[in-house]
Symmetry: C2
Subunit: 510 residues, 2 copies
């Protein structure tokens, strides 16, 4: 395949003059139109106007420029098929061997600027995708190029091959074209569906690999991190080892849990569950309090803050082995201190925070798409169902426990007082087992249940959990309610002098 004639028609003019000059120097005829033609001519390159081939001009404000059989015949003719070449000759068309096209930027112009439909549709490119798709279909004879970043690679290939662009290169370029059209069409499709209610009929996801991960959940599983069209990196990594597959979800919890509190807060995550949480007058106090929840399990944890990390906190954070620190920001001095642990991943998240509205996950045979559990954990509508009315301090403890329990894997039980997490019972198949585990953890950590609450992510099916928790020392219970045995559970709480509130909201998490 030898390039004799190239068609250039691009919205994004980056590098186009460089490419045009190169092609011109190789005695390749350049066919162009409109703005691209102007840029090339301004660079002193000789250009054949598309109108000179088609015999027509740009009509309807440019809507119909290139959609002509002489152009498409020139792109689509199979050079190995003599009847195609005869047909092309009969049409009066000329072979076009290189097609350089990129599109009206629908995402940047229509989506991000939130244009009205009547304006947005002007950014739906018709001619561009048609030409470059035609070139990509016919990659056995023609080379398509759509990304200005790839021109240099093309020039290198051209020089290396003395103008005989390899089939492999053309096929790869065709693959790039269809990745681009898939993303372009998906963006338009999503735009047309943007007014649909929360769960659209169609979900288009076009993901680009952002980074390969060392491995997936386990070393024998390959994995990578992807971004969707328009998504930019959320995390800024200051130092440390590359993030691992298992870090991502944990970081989300470590960052989001403290964000639910207006006071300075710190959370420590292990295996997708919080194993430490504390409030404090400053980040160091909050961190040290979080450590007390489980002074064993926090080892190797992921630590998150809702405030800037200062130098005193950094000094503490480099003492044990931790996987990641995540916070809105760090003082310069704190970052200096953290450098002493060079493997420690130190991450900041911008002001926008982590605010995805929907989550998606594959399951056997399909995909589950849902609104995230973004219910704020505020106990605004708390219904006190017991004779005993909780004190203000007890309500604070319930508030804290309720915000934490929805971040624990179900069945979830949390014991908390008004400034820290005291014990967690996570991921059990029976609720009472979670209660027993939480009690055990509190005892092992030597913590005090005076004024503490028991928070449950779903209702109690029986009253036994209330009984053993009250015996362990808690004085309040916060739970959704809704069991057929609620009356029995309330009766038990009254007998034991425990205050209980119903939230009416369940927070399963798996």
């Amino acid at each position: 395949m030898k390039i004799k004639r190239a068609l250039l028609s691009v919205w994004n003019k980056s590098n186009i003059a460089v490419l045009g000059t190169f092609l011109s120097d190789q005695n390749i005829e350049i066919v162009s139109t409109g703005g691209t033609k102007n840029v090339l001519e301004d660079a002193g390159i000789r250009v054949t106007g598309i109108g000179d081939i088609t015999g027509g001009g740009s009509v309807m404000d440019g809507r119909v420029k290139t959609l002509h059989p002489k152009i498409f015949g020139g792109i689509l003719a199979d050079r190995g098929n003599t009847s195609h070449l005869t047909d092309l000759s009969d049409l009066g068309g000329l072979e076009i061997d290189l097609v350089v096209v990129n599109f009206y930027p629908f995402v940047q112009e229509a989506v991000e600027k939130n244009l009205d439909f009547s304006k947005a549709i002007e950014f739906i490119d018709i001619g561009g995708p048609s030409m470059v798709r035609a070139a990509a279909k016919n990659y056995h004879s023609v080379l398509p190029l759509c990304d200005p970043e790839n021109y240099a690679e093309f020039i290198e290939e051209y020089e290396k091959s003395n103008g005989q662009i390899s089939l492999e290169f053309r096929k790869k370029s065709a693959s790039t074209v269809f990745a681009m059209t898939a993303t372009y069409e998906s963006a338009i499709s999503n735009y047309f569906m943007k007014d649909e209610k929360s769960l659209p009929e169609i979900v288009n996801l076009n993901l680009s690999k952002s980074s390969s991960l060392r491995y997936g959940e386990n070393p024998h599983q390959d994995a990578a991190f992807y971004l969707s069209e328009g998504q930019t990196e959320t995390w800024h990594q200051h130092q440390g080892k590359t993030l691992s597959y298992n870090n991502y979800a944990d970081m989300e919890s470590a960052f989001n849990i403290p964000q639910e509190f207006s006071n300075t807060a710190c959370a420590i995550i292990k295996h997708a569950n919080p194993c430490g949480f504390g409030l404090g007058g400053n980040s160091k106090e909050a961190y040290l309090r979080a450590v007390t929840t489980d002074p064993v399990s926090y080892f190797g944890g992921i630590v998150g803050f809702n405030c800037e990390v200062n130098v005193e906190t950094a000094e503490e954070l480099i003492q044990p082995f931790l996987e990641c620190i995540i916070a809105p920001s760090y003082s310069d001095e704190a970052l200096e201190i953290l450098k002493k642990k060079k493997n420690l991943r130190v991450i900041s998240v911008g002001k926008k925070g982590l605010t995805d509205e929907f989550s998606i996950k594959s399951v056997a045979g399909g995909y589950l798409y849902q609104q995230k559990d973004s219910q704020q954990g505020e106990l605004e509508k708390l219904e006190i169902v017991t004779e005993k009315i909780p004190s203000e301090l007890e309500i604070n403890a319930m508030q804290l426990g309720w915000k934490l329990v929805r971040n624990v894997k179900s069945n979830a039980i949390v014991f908390a007082n008004s400034n820290q997490l005291l014990g967690v019972g996570a991921g059990q198949m029976s609720r009472i087992d979670s209660v027993k585990i939480a009690i055990q953890k509190v005892a092992e950590a030597g913590l005090n249940l005076q004024g503490a609450t028991m928070a449950s992510d779903a209702f109690f099916p029986f009253s036994d959990s209330i009984e053993i928790a009250a015996r362990a020392g808690i004085s309040t219970v916060v739970q959704p309610g809704g069991s057929i045995k609620d009356a029995e559970v309330i009766k038990k709480a009254n007998e034991l002098g425990v205050a209980m509130v119903f939230t009416k909201i369940r927070h399963f998490l798996h």
Copy 2:
């Protein structure tokens, strides 16, 4: 908007004669070409050939038929813009108000038939997408139709509106077009990338809503189940309530765990973890044994089998409250028995089973894509690291425990003998806590640890877990190994007379 002229060019000829007859009866001029024209004329409909408008014929085996300014001008002219209409008139084109197009079936012809690239590209439609995209862009003036299933809806709208198709209807049709082109381009893009290694640069997912779910993980979260292009329903539901969000992942475990065994097996899942597992001479025996693992937690569980469910088993399954039963098949009599519990979801999975190779999930700021943990749990390369050599029965127990532990949320500990699961320690932030929980569960269930093994999804960081498990009665341990304290752990096992094998494979699951 009044339709005077329609262009029909379809690969899928379903309903096209009905549509053509309707249009003809409304005195709408029909423009067509090739096979579509033949079908319409055979139905006695008068048709204008595209060549009569463009003055050209079908050339290059049909590659260039419709790509002509008279056609695209007729589709793209903004009817509210007089200069557009003047341009169209100067071109000698005619307004085309309805564009009915569907594409060469790339997925059915090229992908599913696994064609070579040189043949596959013939199924990349160029003219069709160009025309219908043009019509969709200009939906303020033109109506695009691409799905034969929508013709009836169009006819209804036409009759209802007396031919004045509403802007809303046209916009919805345009939205359907871009959903279709997004899926079409993604299929081609995926085809071009099919030879890439396991983690492609681009992941295109175009999901269609298959069913709305009652709600997501919790009642305040909207959710739906989606299928990707080419995916068909994996589950066949015989009876019972609609599947819920939380059912899906649990069903996958309930079905896949027994599949790992050649003997008849039954697993019971609660909150994403197995809480029961048993082997048996028949499905009833396996089920009853699975129940003994945790005779409390199995209530409300999801029960899976690797064999046909017979009538005796069905009689047992209707005794307690269960959420779902999942199995390869059911005898007719068993299905009759299960009908007695009309809410019980009864699901079968075809022979293909659940064999997705990759999983994807959204996390804050991006997407994680990985190979699934499809390592079979066979202990082929087991390395015995202790003085004590396990007996054959003990190896069977280790085999069973090892297959189960990778299906338990991390940190995971499983106690098992050679025919059942005895206790599970799931989802803890510290491994020793999982050990303690598993011991507690075994004791509560009144089960016997004689000859039992302890299986761990990752290495033991300290020797304490071995000590307390041995004290509880286990005689073997199966774990990946790889801790810096392996020597200490092995020494402890030797002291306690416990046999231990290293598998070298970690199985974290979150």
